[in-house]
């Protein structure tokens, strides 16, 4: 009997990744909204706090990162919802392939669509917040290492709440406490850079969180998806 | 006893407000917890009992319908 089309793990990964990217490009709004949200919040802070350059420079790292958190939170809903609604999620769960592979693909797709735009636009916004020049590289590194962590941890919450009607607020309640370590180390790294101090330690910790998230969260995400699709 | 009089006891060396605020909150919080837990148990039991009664009535009604046919 012919085996049929059996995918190698790599091909499965590529397939799910490219599918998610293609779908997102056809629904540009889903991608642009969180980005615009990010831009708008950062713009609101000087309006609320006052344009004094020194104050802004001091709190810029915090503003950038909290806004990144909130923008990511906004985008998490999109991760599994449409697949849940049309049944594709169930099919993926029922397929003979290990869920680790395609969950990884989905989260990385989410990061490419949400995290990378943030990383690209952050320097512009950081300049608007009067972030000192020494901190720009640190901001880039913390965002590069940190935004994937946000996607992975957020995916757990998204998976748990995908079947619920009022999932949004619950998602924030569950996920934001888990984001705290990334927030603390990222802002500390950017702060340290502004004083000319080394920040490799903080980056290493964020890196450790990234590796931990990459290897461990897919299991939690799979369990959560199985609960939601029942 | 550490305190000479009831007034001294309530005063807590000047910190009375904070000490009694703390213990007051703790007492009320734990009291509400206990009362709510017990009432939830009672409600669960009564809900199940009501459901059993309703089911029995339904069975009875179904039986009577069958007998009439």
């Amino acid at each position: 009997m012919e085996q049929g089309n059996v995918l190698s793990y790599f091909n499965l990964f590529k397939l799910v990744l490219s599918r998610d990217l293609k779908i997102a490009l056809r629904h540009r709004d889903d991608v642009l909204n969180p980005l615009l949200f990010f831009i708008i919040i950062i713009t609101l802070f000087p309006l609320g706090i006052g344009p004094e350059p020194q104050t802004l420079a001091k709190i810029a790292p915090g503003i950038i990162w909290v806004s990144a958190l909130l923008a990511t939170l906004l985008s998490l809903d999109r991760m599994f919802k449409s697949d849940y609604q049309d049944g594709a999620l169930e099919q993926l769960l029922l397929s003979p392939y290990p869920s680790f592979i395609w969950v990884l693909a989905k989260v990385i797709a989410h990061w490419i669509l949400t995290g990378i735009p943030l990383i690209i636009i952050a320097p512009v916004l950081a300049a608007m917040l009067n972030l000192p020049a020494e901190s720009f590289l640190a901001t880039f590194w913390t965002l590069l290492l940190g935004t994937p962590v946000l996607s992975f941890i957020g995916a757990i919450g998204a998976a748990l709440t995908v079947g619920l009607k009022k999932g949004g607020v619950l998602l924030s309640l569950i996920i934001l406490p888990l984001y705290i370590p990334v927030l603390i180390f990222a802002t500390s790294a950017i702060d340290a850079a502004s004083y000319g101090l080394p920040y490799g330690g903080q980056l290493a910790i964020i890196g450790a969180l990234l590796v931990g998230a990459l290897t461990l969260t897919p299991f939690a995400i799979t369990s959560a998806l199985k609960v939601s699709t029942n | 006893m550490q305190f000479d009089s009831i007034t001294a006891f309530l005063d807590m060396g000047g910190y009375g407000f904070f000490v009694w605020l703390s213990f007051g909150f703790g007492f009320i919080a734990l009291l509400i917890l206990v009362l709510q837990s017990k009432s939830a148990l009672k409600r669960a039991k009564s809900d199940i009992a009501k459901r059993i009664v309703t089911e029995q009535k339904q069975k009875l009604a179904a039986q009577q319908q069958n007998n009439h046919r």
């Binding site: 757990i156 748990l160 709440t161 079947g163 619920l164 009022k166 999932g167 619950l170 309640l173 569950i174 934001l176 406490p177 888990l178 705290i180 370590p181 603390i184 180390f185 500390s188 969180l209 461990l216 939690a220 369990s223 959560a224 609960v227 939601s228 029942n230 | 006893m1 550490q2 305190f3 006891f9 807590m12 060396g13 000047g14 910190y15 009375g16 904070f18 000490v19 605020l21 703390s22 213990f23 909150f25 703790g26 919080a29 734990l30 917890l33 206990v34 837990s37 017990k38 939830a40 148990l41 669960a44 039991k45 809900d47 199940i48 009992a49 459901r51 059993i52």
Partner: protein, 247 residues
Amino acid sequence: MWKWLHPYANPETTYHLSDRVIPWFGWLSGSLLTIGLVWALLFAPADYQQGDSFRIFYLHVPAASLSMGIYLGMAIAALCGMVWQLKLSDAAVAALAPVGAVFTAIALFTGAAWGKPMWGTWWVWDARLTSELVLLFLYLGVIAINNAFEDKQMAGKAASIIALVGVINLPIIKYSVEWWNTLHQGATVSKLGKPAMSLEMFWPFVVCFLGFAFFVATVTCIRFKTEILLRNSSRPWVKNLMLEQAE
């Protein structure tokens, strides 16, 4: 070695066990708390530096340690549920979460009320208080997710996942908050060090702690019974039990 535990995977057996155990826990808790609190409030010495405000310690510290212990217990229950597919674990997680949340709230409130006379402000972003606040959010997350699902089975499994994810993150969060706090210590030196406990303070503390611990056990068992009933309401043993009690 663990065979003696096996019968207790049956909800009915454990329900009756909880039933039998509640009066014992209740009396132990009541008597220990009475003795402990009277001792703490009336007979224990005032602190050399903090005076009588130190008496808040006898409520604050047990509440804080228990808040963390309950979370650990909840996570262990969640783990057992996931590993051995025990349905009772979901009931345990649901029963423990509100109790833990209340104790966390008490720890936070008494911490603030103690902080005002000691540090001058109601709230300090002290590492321990901040971690405790995050713990409260983690508890609220578990409770919220338990209530969000209509199907109790799904709710229990989802809550277990969140409890486990939380317990893995808890040390990371505590470490990062502690690190963050020492970074921002600056001029304000923490006036609240761990007091060197004299024996006269230690014993009332132990009695209070045990009293509160048994209190947690009592209330948790009551809530556990409720959760078992709610998740097994269509079973014959529940129906028989309800009919028996109605007579």
